[in-house]
Structures are given as structure tokens and as C-alpha cells.
Assembly symmetry: C2
Homo-oligomer: 357 residues x 2
């Protein structure tokens, strides 16, 4: 007799769709399995992931006590990921979401000095306020080129490590940051379609950092894959751009998106109604924009992407004005997180080549 | 309507039990899922994993063509793992098993120069023949201590990378080798309970290698976790020993083991019958042996281990004569591969400390 209650529809959908992303980005498979199995209704989601994060944070505390700093960095980063995934789409319970997000930031900050390469939290001046980023510079003889990492609707700088590691291995630095509507900026700065503005502030700030070369790439996933094309079109200092599963026009399949996704747009754009949100996303549109991107571009799209049709990637690549690589992965899901080996090393090799030539 | 035929019992058991090991040791979750879903009866197992390995080997070929050697190493290592898991328990079809194993060895050999740290294939003189090992030495100023990596009944040196990486990150070298009954030795050298003999040959050979220090640890998983305790008891040059999910007496729960496991003992011990195999495994017994191990010992055991009861680890730790750490992981499965974060960094920290003090 199985007395486990069945999970509700949203939770079942989560379990079915999110495993590849969670696992490819650093959640151990067992943790994904047992944590999602303990969630019987969506309202429990965040608390369960916070509990799971505590397990890893305690391992990190123990490692610090024992003087094992490398292990501590590893455990604390995993703790941050658990807290992050507790928060990432918990937009209907904002107090709980913000609390879990704050734990993700705190755990990641604790991890940073112990990561390889270490991370440094930096504040980027932005319109009288600031954006927060994490700079990681590998131990190489000369200041290396740097890649700006752009998260999406429900990811944050704390989730970017699994993409970054391929860049670090090739001697590139990374700067992951939370833009308007993302992570640490989400409460005071709403999403904005003209993402070249925050990216411009980031590139301005990079020019003041002696530890990196003035040779800047950009790498965005999901909605970040949309933002980076826009930023590249309007920010001439971007020397190479990787766009992974970015929409061409977010509004095109708006009603077909999961309700949680639409709610996340509403909350992170600081809007009051679904109608206002539907109008807002009309502005997330690369029509007339993609063609202005002249820097080298690498576009990745998955044919099994249920959030962004792979035809969006084809359209971006078709219209881009510079040298473009289009990689449509047969069977790839959103951000092709089911087959990271199909693009993460390849994009890193391409970015490395482009930023050094 | 779902027209997918149900997998047979052995295949279903595989899917249920092996995911944590495969994924924790380097098989992408998606590859595990789609490959096992394509296996409807056990006889297809090996061929499906070989097909999956080809996917990664082709990615490796492409990377080599493009001059992206780091990516090539990553892809070719994944190819080797797929071939290896095709072969690992396919003992009822030895021709196919040996062919897949040969592909695993070949792909791993192709990967070795491109891994970080690179690997070097070495031949270890052994009783008029030789054993094959892979030496990996991180880029550190002075020759580092070295850890001998010991696989189990159905693992080989090609599967040890996921354990090794934690040691490399801490500046330790590793030498993974195929002992009698394992990997490249399985056809011409049967399993032998007195595993201190091959380990002695390995330690003799290490003394001739200038790139490592004469400070040797040993690290074994599953049956390897049994072998290393025996080797430490009789080989005084072993300075520290990590034993993960090793049996105390293999015969104790012999009839309760999966039929494939028992068949693997028969084939790899070069025996003709189940009766002879049952007699042979009586000799895999640490009674009177564990107490002779005086080097520092770290024992890991999982309470949810369905192959080796965690009480075996408790018994080994109780009897060992040197300073011992016993880590019984609540809910840990065999080799605690469901929660690698519970022991892999911790064992690496401990080994590093022990080999440098």
C-alpha cells in the first residue's frame, strides 16, 4: 500500500520538467528526487528546498570549522542553489520567496572566497543605485577577457556557476550579475526590455577593474538569451555574444506559457495585473533589433523546448548582421539543459576564440 | 496510448538502482534516462550504451578536428564511461562485453592527454605480465603524494575519475589501475583475494616514478573497499586508506545478492560453476585481517546499501588497529553514490591531511 499523497498538478509538472535544469546546474540528483517527492502541494515547495539547503550549509559550516575551505565552498554553493530553487518561481508568496532568495545570496557570499576561481562580490553603479555582480577571475598570467553572464526570468547570478566553469577552464573571467527584475535587483528595479542600459553600466564598471582585459563577451540563457541579443545590438563594446534559448518575441506564445511563468513576469516587472503584463511583454521583441547586432553571435536552440520555440533561435540567427553560428539541438529542451555537453563546451571554445582574436 | 513495451525485471532493477551511480560518476542524467528507456530486455543493454558512447565519441572527434582539446578530453571521457557501463555487468555475453570494454579503454586512452590533469597510461610489471594503470599528476611545484585508486567487482579504472577529481583539486596525484579480475586484466588474470600482491606491485612501480612523492595512500570503492583494507593490513608502505562500502565477508549475504552480481564474480574469478564461486568468495573475508591494518583508515558505509550492509563498515572500523574515522551515512546507498557530497570532499580532505602529515 502506498500512502504517499499524489502531488498536485504544478508540482508534478515541476518534477517532470525541471530535473535536467536542476541537475545540470548543480543540484545532486538524489536531492532533486527526495526534495520534490516531499512536496505534495506547491505551497510547500520553497520551505522544502530551504530545508534541503540547510543540509548543505551545515556541511559547509563543518568544513569551515575543520579548515577545509575548498570543501566549504562546494557545500555552500550547493546550499545557495537549493535556496535559489526554493525561491525561483515562488512569486505568489513573495515574503517567503524574498527570504529564501536572501538565504541564497548569503550562502553564495559565504562560498565565494573558497570557490576555484574565487568570486568577489562587486557593486556596479546604476542610475543612482547599484546592481550586484560576482566577478571570478582564473589564475592566469595576464588579465583575461571577461564574459558577462546574464540570467533569465527565474534564474539569478547564483545559478550561473555551471555555465561559468567551462569559461574559467579556458582562462576566461566571468561577471554574473542581477539585472533589473532579477535576483538582488528584483524588489527595487523592475524588468526592462532595453537591457542594453544595465549591460552598459556593467561594461562601464568593467573598464575600472584592472584584473580583467578590456575585451568583453556576453552569455545569456533563457530570457537572458533574449536580453543579450538586444544588448549586443546597442552596445558596441560587446565583442561576442552567446544566446541560449532566447525568445525572439516573448508575446508570441504568451498564453501558451505556464501560469507560473506569466506570474513571474508580472511580479518581476512590478505590474498589478495580467493585462498589464501581457502589454509589457509586447516590448520584449527583437524585431528590427536582431539585425543591428554586428558582433559575432552563437545561437543555441532546442527542438524540444516547450517554453521558447527553437524557431526563435533560427530567426535571431537569420537576422543577425555579424558572423553567426546557429546550433539547433535535436531533442534539446529549454536552455538545452538536458544535454549540456551539446553546447556548454562548444560555446566556451567559441567564446574563447572570439575574445582572443 | 503508450505502446512502449515494459522493460524486463533486470532492466527495471537497473533503472531503479543505478541512476545515482551512473550520474554521480559522470553519465548525464538525460543519457541515463533515454538509454535505459531504450532497453526493453537485458540483452540490449550493452549495445544501447555503446550507441550512446558513439554520440560522445563523435563530439570528441569534432572537438579534436577543431583543435579544442579540452572539450575533446571531456567528450571522450564520457564516451569511455558509456562504453564501460555497457560492459560492466554484461558477463553473460562475454564477447560483447569484452568488445565494449575495449572501446572504453580506447576512448579513455584518447581522452587522457586532454584531461586536467592529463593522464598517462602506465604498465606495471606483475608476475611475468603487467597490470595497466592511469597516472594523473596535478600541476603542483613538488612531486605530490599519490593515491592508488581501486575499483570493485564491476567498475574499472575508467570509472574512477569522479572520485579522483577531489584528490586532484587538493594537489594529490592518483594512480587508478585494473587489478586481477578487473578491466584490462579480467581476461588473463582471475580475481584474487590476497589483493596486497597486486597492490605491492603497484607500490613497487610507484617508487620508480619521479613525478610523485614516495607517500602513498589507497582508496577503494565497493569490492575495492574490501581489497584496500586487506592491502593496508599486509602492505606497510600504505600510509592512509579510504574504504567505501567494502564488504567484511563477501560470503555473508551471498545468496541475497543480485544474480548478475554473482555471475560477475564467477566470470571474473574464472570459475566454471556457481558452487565453485560460492566457495571462492569465502576467501574474501577480513576476519583476522582488518585488525592488522595499522595505517590511518577512513570507512564510509550507507545505511540504505542493499549490496553491502553498513554493519560491514562498522566491523572493519571496530577491528582496525590504527586511527580510524567511521562515517555511516543515513540513507546512503552502495558506495553512497546517491550523496557523494557526504563523503567525496571529506575523504579527499582527510587523505590530503594524512598524506602530508
Amino acid at each position: 500500500m502506498d500512502s504517499t499523497p499524489a502531488a498536485d498538478e504544478r508540482t508534478s509538472a515541476a518534477i517532470a520538467h525541471w530535473a535536467p535544469r536542476f541537475v545540470s546546474n548543480g543540484i545532486p540528483l538524489h536531492d532533486f528526487t527526495v526534495t520534490t517527492a516531499s512536496v505534495h502541494e506547491w505551497s510547500q515547495w520553497c520551505a522544502r528546498w530551504v530545508e534541503r539547503g540547510r543540509v548543505h550549509e551545515e556541511l559547509g559550516d563543518q568544513a569551515l570549522t575543520d579548515g577545509h575551505t575548498r570543501s566549504a565552498g562546494e557545500h555552500l554553493r550547493r546550499a545557495a542553489l537549493c535556496y535559489h530553487f526554493g525561491a525561483f518561481l515562488f512569486v505568489e508568496h513573495t515574503d517567503e520567496m524574498f527570504a529564501a532568495h536572501a538565504q541564497a545570496v548569503a550562502a553564495y557570499n559565504r562560498a565565494l572566497p573558497h570557490l576555484d576561481p574565487p568570486g568577489r562580490r562587486i557593486e556596479i553603479p546604476y542610475q543612482g543605485s547599484h546592481l550586484v555582480g560576482v566577478l571570478r577571475v582564473p589564475d592566469v598570467p595576464a588579465p583575461p577577457p571577461v564574459v558577462v553572464m546574464v540570467a533569465g526570468l527565474d534564474s539569478t547570478k547564483e545559478e550561473m556557476g555551471a555555465y561559468e566553469e567551462h569559461l574559467h577552464q579556458r582562462g576566461l573571467a566571468t561577471l554574473a550579475f542581477d539585472g533589473p527584475g532579477q535576483g538582488e535587483a528584483q524588489r527595487h528595479l523592475p524588468m526592462r526590455p532595453d537591457f542594453e542600459v544595465p549591460v552598459g553600466a556593467v561594461v562601464d564598471h568593467l573598464a575600472t577593474l584592472p584584473e580583467v582585459a578590456q575585451r568583453v563577451g556576453i552569455y545569456g540563457v533563457s530570457l537572458g538569451g533574449h536580453y543579450v541579443v538586444r544588448a549586443t545590438a546597442f552596445e558596441p563594446r560587446i565583442a561576442a555574444c552567446a544566446s541560449i534559448s532566447g525568445s525572439y518575441r516573448v508575446a508570441d506564445n504568451w498564453e501558451g506559457r505556464p501560469p507560473m511563468t506569466r506570474a513571474a513576469y508580472r511580479v518581476r516587472a512590478h505590474l498589478a495585473s495580467d493585462e498589464a503584463t501581457a502589454r509589457f511583454v509586447e516590448r520584449l521583441d527583437l524585431s528590427g533589433v536582431a539585425g543591428r547586432a554586428t558582433a559575432p553571435l552563437y545561437v543555441v536552440a532546442g527542438t524540444a523546448d516547450r517554453l521558447t520555440p527553437h524557431t526563435a533561435g533560427i530567426r535571431i540567427a537569420d537576422e543577425a548582421a555579424g558572423p553567426t553560428v546557429l546550433d539547433v539541438v535535436e531533442g534539446g529542451n529549454h536552455v538545452v539543459n538536458n544535454m549540456p555537453y551539446r553546447y556548454r563546451p562548444q560555446v566556451a571554445d567559441w567564446m574563447n576564440h572570439r575574445l582572443r582574436s
